[in-house]
């Protein structure tokens, strides 16, 4: 509950973190896909998903 409250009070910071998570994970996904590294691909898609969940938690 406290974490969600903090997220909602710091919208800009959360958007910044979410955006950086999405951009960096996408860039790294390309090299993981080229190598065929499936665990890394799942992990990086997970980062992208996390970025979006963070944004949803912010009002």
């Amino acid at each position: 509950m406290t974490i969600i409250k903090w997220l909602r009070k710091n919208t800009f910071q959360v958007h910044l973190i979410a955006f950086l998570l999405m951009i960096t994970s996408s860039v790294l996904l390309y090299s993981a896909a080229e190598r065929g590294d499936i665990p890394s691909m799942w992990l990086l898609v997970g980062f992208f998903i996390t970025g979006n969940i963070l944004v949803i938690l912010v009002r």
Partner: protein, 514 residues
Amino acid sequence: MHFFLALLPILIILVLMVGLRWGAARAGGAGYLSALLLALLYFGADVRLLAYAHTKATLLSLDVLLIIWAAFLLYRVADEAGAIRTIGLALPHLTADRGMQALIIGWVFASFLQGVGGFGVPVAVIAPLLVGLGFAPLQAVVIPSIGHGWAVTFGSLGSSFQALMASSGLPGEMLAPDSALFLGISAILVGFLVAHAAGGSRATFRLVTPVLILALVMGLTQYLVAVARLWNIAAFSGGMLGLLVGIPLARKYKGEAEEREALVLKSLAIALSGYVILIAITLAVQLVPGIGKFLGQVVIRLEFPELVSALGHLTPAGPGRSIPLFRHPGAILTYSSIIAFLIYKKAGLYQPNAAKRIIKGTIEKVMSSSVSIASMVAMAVIMEHVGMIEILAQGLANSMGMAFPLVAPWIGALGAFMTGSNTNSNVVFGALQVRTAELLNYQAALILAGQTAGAGLASVMAPTKIVVGASTAGMAGREGDVMRQLLVYTGLLVLLISVLTMASVLLENNNLWW
């Protein structure tokens, strides 16, 4: 069932934004997550397909975001120096005629501001200006809202048009002529609607001549500049030339003169210098081959393999979006911002720590839209790669058939209303419109012109923009009044685009187009 599930991410965004009033960033995140889940669980995506789709989406997002970031930077550079205020204060000096003030400030100046800034800036800047001139608050919000709609697609220094190119995969040379033509024609109706909002039918009939002259100048300029491949300055050039023609024109409609401060031409010239720099740099990069070639040496470009979903949907191999880092419109805007900053600084227009405030203000303002674009583009690219767009296009083609050109602009308008921007609407619906046009054997450029023109004109009544406009004119809490009035005006404009799209398709299919 396939069709409904393919439509679900778009429906989720619509319900969350319109029904539950979520912001574009939150709703975009929910749309992305739903598309990802559906792609994995129902439409046969594997992690390799998702990995490449995410990278492609990020390239597309960066292509659009570089312009949005730099366009807002240039706006902040000018605004911090007081340049926008100086230009705005100079305009009421020209005429005391209410109708003419509405045309020059609420239409021409609003279009100019949309050309250079966008992001709700025209209404936010102009509504208080019109209230100060004695317009009713409702008029003060409605006039600039309608007035800048025709300049949205090529406005914000071309970001919505860039999104249209990115999402459709079609070159700007193919898309620009029809889009600029439809928007140019809509500018005539926009002018009359602005005159009507300012003074009813009497003002509309009285101002026929200036409306036609200004619409012709702005619409034709935007068309010619866009066709010359300078789409990032097309709306801006239209607005700029509109101001140059509108100033002497306004003097013919002086009305009852009032006492005002003397107009300082030197201040006005300095205020406009930042934008003159932008024109000069853009022309130099586009027209001097040596400069363009030199700046175009560093290109971000990735090759993607052929991808097939478990359900058999095939995405052919090929390069993703290429980004020429130092020749990109975003880079050109950044060079212009730096030079404009130095000019304004030399003229002593900045308070201490201006650079810090400009950068901080820019980053804070663009972050939310950056997140929403990243999410929505990822959603659209995933949907495309697993065949969801194809299913939607098939469904639309089967159900709409010959009437599809009439519906295409309303799809764009709906997208802009629900996502709050022409850019987002083009991202979400661009590929769908192209595929449906292909299935029905219609020229994709015409359908996309309908999409982006409908989206641009309807973007002015997105709830987020109305809230900003109403708050700056002291109408907070009365957003419903603004929405009701805009609904009629915007409906007429999208209807016009709908008829234009259908007529163009019929002419094209019967080889009657000149």
